[in-house]
Each structure stands twice: as C-alpha cells, then as structure tokens.
C-alpha cells in the first residue's frame, strides 16, 4: 500500500521553487517505498538533488551518465538477482535522457525485460542545459533551439509517443501520470514496481523556468494539460489501454495562455491556425483514448 506520509526525497535540494520534477521524485518514492534502489540519468533532477557532499535521496541512489540509466539498471537488477536480494529498481530520468539520447539503452533493457520500473519525468525539453527542444517537446513550443520567430512558431515536430514505443517492446505495464493527480501517480508507481518485467511510467512535470510561469502555478498548469486533453493519463496492461482519466474538456488555449513558451501564439497577434492545429492534437488524443465525458443535455 502507498504510504502518503513516507518522505524519502529530502528537503534542501536545489530545485527551483515550484519544480514539477522535484514533486514527481517525492511522489514516486512514496509510491515505491524504502526497499528501492534508484538509478538516475544526468539532468536537472540529478544535479539539484545531489550537490556533493549532500544528497536528497534517502534510498540507495546511483547516477552514471546521461544516456545509460536503463543499462545501469539492468546491471543492478542482474546483480540483485544473483545475490537473492529483494530491492526494487527504479530509474528516474528526464525526457531528453529518455526520448532521445537514452533510447538505445532503453530499447535493449525493455527487450530483455529486466525487472525494473523506468520513470520519465517529462518536462518537455532539456531544462538542465537551458531549455532546448527534445523529442518530448510539444508542437509549437518555443525553446532555445526551436525558438519562435518571424519565420517560426517554435517546435515543428510532434511529441514522440514513448509509451506506445515501449508497449510495443512488450512492456507488461505502461502508464502516464501527472503531478496534479498524486494518488493516481503513487498508485501507478506502486503497480509498476510490483509488475515483473520492464515497466514504464511517464510523468507530466511542468517546469516553471522552462515553460515560463510562476512557481505556484505548477499543479494548476499540470491539471489544465489533462483538462484540455493535451496530456492523457492512462494505463496500458500488456499493450492494451486499460484505464483512462476522463475529463470534460476545456479548449487548449486555456492551457497555452498560461505559459510563455506559447506566448507567440497570442502576441503580438493571435495565430488562429496554429491554435487550431494544437486543438486538433487534443481532439485526436480524446478520440484515441476516449477521454471525453459526455454531458447529458438538459
């Protein structure tokens, strides 16, 4: 059972006020519990949580490189198995480490089915190096390598569908979660670590610095992502969608307007065609996952 009061991610770390990733780490460990070994990739979380000689991790923790967390976790799992030990292994990696540079190691590990849970805290860009686009960056988001400008509306590429990619590897449990829904997040982590094999949980973790909003808005913005259908919380068991968070959808611009990374869609001039294109992404998500709650006509 998830212990809501368990604190395994200690205070004093160096994350920005309102950091979604720090909240994700805290919630993940509540779901995972004390009998856990964490493998981190290089990134914001690794840097802000372990400035030598201090650490926020009250469970055993290892960081090796940017792109090899899944392979390191494979080795940890193999070693524990040989020693007959019972710790559960959890990878904590950002979206750059997951969607882009770590893809090879992840694919290999999931093919082998090593018994660990891979958590991607998805803040939708390379935040540690200063907000560059990654494979997780949404359409039209302005980043420092996909800047909006007189000839550009920002990132032109769609967000890579990592959950489907890993489900196609045969992962027995794949889920998405959001820091705005902590009980759901913790339960998914608990379920993942208790499912044998390579499991994946992708957590939407807004970044106030990178997305451009005030730190106290983090949870509200994460919630808006769900409510607009731009982020869908679901569970896939053995490749089939088993559970979806349903919503009464709001228009996407309610989400877009809250963040500077989408400001160019509204100022100096409203870009109706681009907003419509993003609305179409939300509509496709809604149709694909069946998230719409149909209100009865009065």
């Amino acid at each position: 059972m998830v212990d809501k009061d368990l604190e395994l991610f200690d205070c004093g770390h160096r994350a920005c006020g309102g950091c979604g990733a720090a909240l994700a780490a805290r919630l993940v460990l509540k779901g995972a519990g004390t009998n856990t070994i964490v493998v981190s990739s290089t990134g914001c979380m690794e840097v802000f949580s372990t400035p030598y000689p201090e650490t926020s991790w009250k469970v055993p923790w290892i960081h090796s490189l940017f792109e090899n967390a899944a392979a390191v976790a494979s080795g940890v799992v193999a070693s524990l198995k040989k020693q007959g030990r019972t710790e559960k292994v959890v990878v904590m990696a950002g979206d750059g480490a997951t969607f882009d540079i770590g893809m090879l190691c992840i694919s290999g590990a999931f093919e082998r089915g090593h018994d660990f849970t891979y958590i991607c805290y998805d803040n939708e860009a390379y935040m540690n190096t200063g907000i560059q686009r990654s494979g997780a960056t949404p359409y039209d988001a302005s980043t420092t390598t996909s800047p909006a400008g007189s000839c550009s509306f920002g990132n032109k590429l769609p967000k890579k569908d990592m959950p489907q990619i890993l489900a196609a590897h045969g992962a027995p449990y794949v889920a998405t979660a959001s820091i705005a829904y902590p009980m759901d997040l913790m339960q998914k982590v608990e379920k993942a670590i208790n499912t044998p094999g390579s499991c994946y949980v992708q957590i939407h973790a807004p970044c106030c610095t990178g997305w451009g909003f005030e730190g106290e808005q983090t949870v509200a913005i994460a919630k808006l992502a769900i409510e607009t259908g731009l982020w869908v919380n679901f569970e896939m068991i053995d490749g089939k969608v088993a559970k979806v968070k349903k919503v009464v959808r709001k228009p996407v611009e309610e989400y877009l307007k809250t963040q500077k990374r989408f400001r160019h869609l509204f100022k100096p001039k409203r870009q109706d065609a681009e907003i419509a294109a993003i609305q179409a992404i939300a509509d496709r998500n809604a149709e694909k996952y069946g998230i719409d709650i149909k209100l009865k006509k009065e």
Binding site: K58, G75, S79, Q83
Partner: protein, 384 residues
C-alpha cells in the same frame, strides 16, 4: 596441467575460475570467442553468472557498472570500436571506483576499418583511470586475469582493469597454457566483498554532482589510487608466484639488459618476436636487449628509468600513434628518462595488423644505431 588451447578459450576459462557474478558483453572481432565461451559455460551450468546480452558495448559496460555498484564481481570483454564506444563509461567506472575487469583483444581503430591488431584502442584510454596490463603470450594473458581482479578489488586500489593481449596474434593462437584449479584460485582470489554498495539497508548516493570545490580532489584521489596500485600489483604478483610458480611481480621485465647498448622497449606479443631477434643478434655479438612493459597504467617510470640507466640508446616499438605527436610509449619513456641524456628513438610499427618479423626488429636496431628514429617503420612508399 598444460592444455593446448586457443588464447580466447584459455582466457574465458580463467575468467570462469575468477567466478564473476555478472557478465555483460557484446560481440566484436577478435574478442568474440571469449564471450561465446562464457555464454556456453553459463548455458551449461559451468559458470554461475548472470550473462546480460546487451545491445551495444556502451550498454555492456554500463550494465557492468550497475552490477558492480550493487556488489557483484563483474566482467566484460571488448576491443577497438567497442572500446571506443565505451569511452564515456570507462571514465565513469574509474571515477566511481568500480573494480570491473575487462579483457581487451587489442585491435586497430578505424578509419579505415581494420579488424587486425595494434594497441591503439586501449592506449587511447590511457587517461581514463583504468589499470592496464599487457600480455606477451597466452599464459601471461590468462594469469593476468587472476591478478587483475585481485588488484582491482584491493581496498587501496578500487579501480577497474584492462587485461590487454594482441587480437588474433594471441586471441586466436593455440599455445600450451597451464590452467589453475578452482580451489587454488579461490584461495588466491577471495569472494568480492565491497565496503560500499547499493543497499536498501544502508542507503548511500553514488555518482553525485561535484562543484569546483571538490572535483580536483576526486581526480587527485583516483590518480593516487592508480599510482598506489603499483605496490599492490607487486604484492599480488609475488603471491601468485609463491602459489603458482610464475612471477608477474615486476611492472617491467628485462631481457639481456645487463650489458645491452641498444635496448628495445615494447609491450605485448611483439616482445616474443623481439626476444628471438635479440637471440640471433646476440649470436652475432650485438649488445641488444629488451625491456618489456607489462603494466602501462600505472606507468612504472622509476622502474623503467632504473632498468634503462645503462643503455646507450633506446628504440621504442609503438603499436599505436598519438596522431600529431609520437607513439604513447615513447612519450612516456622520454618523460621517464628526462635529463639522462639517453637518446630515445620511436618506431611506429605493426599498425592494423602489419606483420612484424625478426628482420624488422633487426632493422629497427640498425636504424637506432645510426641515430635514425621517430618514424613509421616499413612504410610502402609506392602506395603513399
């Protein structure tokens, strides 16, 4: 008991006797026979290890890192491009002080692609913090694995180790090799018991982020441990000699050195050919000797300077080239002999599997006697 066996198979058998608990490796010529043999042992219950079939060398060493951190004796093998792909992980393993042992069947690096032998691969990792042993023959290649684990896991060292042997020349050659028995190896190499490991009962953080306030000290400690490894190697070599009769306690080994005027310096299988060439030159009255370097990291500069102090000239056989400079061995030797006035001539030789024969060694000696060096030996002018 002496067994006539292929170098790779003898090495695999030595690795089995070292009881690695986790092996992660990826196929690459000419290393593949070793990991095939180990996979076969695991499949037939002859080796109680978890064998991870990774998707790349990069993941192989990354998985080894994780397994070592969790407290298992861990082994891999690779060569050439595979080692180059591991470059980033190699520095990381040493920095985090994990005593992984890796066999390197030395091979050239592309481009152009070459599957044949030289020592460019492991030499290119000289700055990474790994111990580097070089074997002359298959007996030595085999024995150095027991010693490498023993030294790497010593609490005064806690650093990873390469055991290097020339690809094809040793890896694919059949030679008689004396294999040890399990009880004796267990006595020489006790079970791996790291002081620190990933353990929920005692949570610690590995691989933390360092500010400029601490980084310099971390690097100093790695360097110190690598230098301190010298005495641990000597002790491990002596104990091996006491138990098994073969002495690898010296970091460098002389051959007809006492009165030698021209001393060749080399590493690996080329030392065997060189000794034969020296025998023939000695029969002709030439005062030629060899200094074989068994351990390249830590570099035994003082031992080397002492051993070479009586020489009139040094001819270094470098199976590598630090492009734009010299061979790595020559650079080290020039540093070790600085101020001695002894001339050091460098010969880049045998790259990409070009055969080095006795006549080539004799020609190198003749060039050194004329004071001609710092060159690529045996260039085919017609293809340049």
């Amino acid at each position: 008991m002496l067994e006539l066996t292929e170098g790779s198979l003898a090495i695999a058998d030595a690795v089995r006797l070292c009881r690695p608990q986790v092996i992660a490796a990826y196929p690459i010529t000419p290393q593949t026979h070793i990991v095939e043999a180990l996979a076969d042992m695991v499949a037939n219950g002859k080796l109680d290890a978890d064998y991870i079939t990774v998707e790349s060398e990069f993941s192989a060493l990354s998985a080894c890192l994780g397994a070592s951190a969790a407290g298992s004796r861990t082994y891999s093998a690779t060569t050439s491009q595979g080692l180059a792909l591991m470059f980033e992980v190699c520095f990381n393993v040493a920095g985090m002080r994990f005593p992984i042992v890796m066999s390197i069947a030395n091979r050239a690096l592309g481009a152009p692609l070459s599957i044949w032998n030289d020592q460019q691969d492991s030499i290119s990792l000289r700055d990474s913090g790994w111990l580097q042993f070089y074997a002359e023959d298959n007996q030595e290649a085999t024995d150095l694995h027991y010693i490498a684990f023993r030294v790497a896991e010593d609490n005064a060292v806690l650093l990873p180790a390469f055991v290097c042997f020339d690809g094809f020349i040793l890896s694919h050659t059949y030679e008689p090799v004396e294999m040890l028995n399990q009880a004796d190896v267990d006595k020489y190499l006790p079970a791996f018991a790291p002081k620190e490991r990933l353990d929920a009962a005692d949570p610690i953080s590995f691989g933390m982020f360092s500010t400029p306030d601490y980084y310099l000290e971390f690097r100093y400690e790695i360097d110190k441990a690598l230098k301190d490894a010298k005495s641990v190697i000597e002790k491990a070599g002596k104990e091996f000699a006491q138990q098994f009769g073969r002495d690898y306690s010296a970091m460098v080994e002389g051959y007809h050195l006492a009165d030698a005027e021209t001393v060749l310096v080399a590493m690996g299988s080329i030392c065997g050919t060189t000794k034969d060439a020296i025998d023939e030159m000695r029969a002709e009255g030439k005062k030629v000797g060899l200094l074989k370097i068994r351990v390249f990291r830590p570099f035994p500069a003082q031992d080397l300077a002492k051993a070479l102090s009586g020489a009139k000239r040094i001819a270094v056989l470098d199976k590598n080239i630090s492009l734009g400079s010299k061979g790595a061995l020559a650079l080290e030797i020039k540093d070790a002999l600085y101020g001695s006035g002894i001339p050091v001539y460098d010969y880049i030789i045998g790259l990409g599997g070009r055969d080095v024969r006795k006549k080539d060694i004799k020609e190198v000696v003749a060039l050194a006697e004329k004071g001609t060096g710092d060159l690529f030996y045996g260039l085919k002018k017609e293809v340049l």
